[in-house]
């Protein structure tokens, strides 16, 4: 399944990456599974997205929880808790 990834704020800086297209295995069906799959890519990814890190996610511009389903072509964003206003 092809996904468009976006990273913001401290997550973007930690990864030195703001966007990426990925093709994930079929078993990566939720936001939480995608986060685990990305964290397993190596130390940098684990430090930015691993368990215990306070990271939020959005699918197609809506903030969602870890069990949110993914779909072909979805835009999935990871970022820290928001601090506007």
């Amino acid at each position: 399944m092809k996904l468009e990834l976006r990273f913001f704020a401290s997550v973007r800086e930690a990864l030195s990456c703001d966007a990426e297209s990925v093709d994930v295995p079929a078993e990566v069906g939720t936001v939480g599974a995608l986060r685990d799959w990305l964290a397993a890519r190596g130390d940098t990814w684990s430090r930015a997205l691993g368990a215990g890190k306070s990271v939020r996610a959005a699918v197609d511009l809506d903030m969602v929880g870890a069990d949110a389903p993914l779909h072909e072509g979805a835009e999935v964003a990871f970022f820290p808790p928001v601090t506007g206003g």
Partner: protein, 159 residues
């Protein structure tokens, strides 16, 4: 009641007085206008802050703000709402955010303004990075902001 809504995410500054005049427009049913303006402070968490840079998620930010305002318009009787949030690099005492609400009576305008700010702080994708003498750092989200937003979840608060 149909609520007039205007939302802007911009780098430019804004004129609060002109915005409030525009909010009222020619609607003589409006009896109350409430507004909140957020400013850049020159200190935060014990450090001097020389500048602050606001990052956002284009597209999602506008959509999140629209949803927050739509929810406010469902809960309270509102004639008009104006939200402006700035992005980019700002310095004390620059204006960051304006939330303005107009209604027949002050209760609706006060509560809706507070609700929109509380939800904006926890649901709209903006992030602040501040420059201090020790270097630059991301502003951490505060639990107190979550608590402030959570108070609107309590049944019966939408008077």
């Amino acid at each position: 009641m149909t609520t007039r809504v205007s939302i802007s995410v911009q780098s430019e500054d804004f004129d609060v007085s002109a915005e409030l005049v525009a909010l009222r427009a020619d609607d003589t049913s409006i009896g109350a206008v409430v507004n909140f303006v957020g400013l850049v402070r020159d200190r935060n968490d014990g450090a001097q802050v020389s500048a602050m840079t606001l990052e956002h998620y284009p597209g999602m930010t506008e959509r999140a703000l629209e949803k927050i305002v739509a929810e406010a318009a469902q809960r309270w009787s509102l004639a008009a709402v104006r939200v402006i949030h700035r992005v980019g690099t700002l310095r004390a005492p620059d204006q960051i955010v304006l939330v303005a609400t107009a209604s027949m009576h002050r209760g609706d305008a006060f509560e809706a303004c507070a609700f929109i700010m509380d939800y904006l702080k926890t649901r709209a994708p903006f992030w602040k990075r501040e420059d201090t003498p020790a270097g630059s750092r991301w502003v951490e989200a505060r639990e107190s902001d979550d608590d402030a937003a959570a108070r609107w979840d309590t049944p019966g608060t939408n008077a």
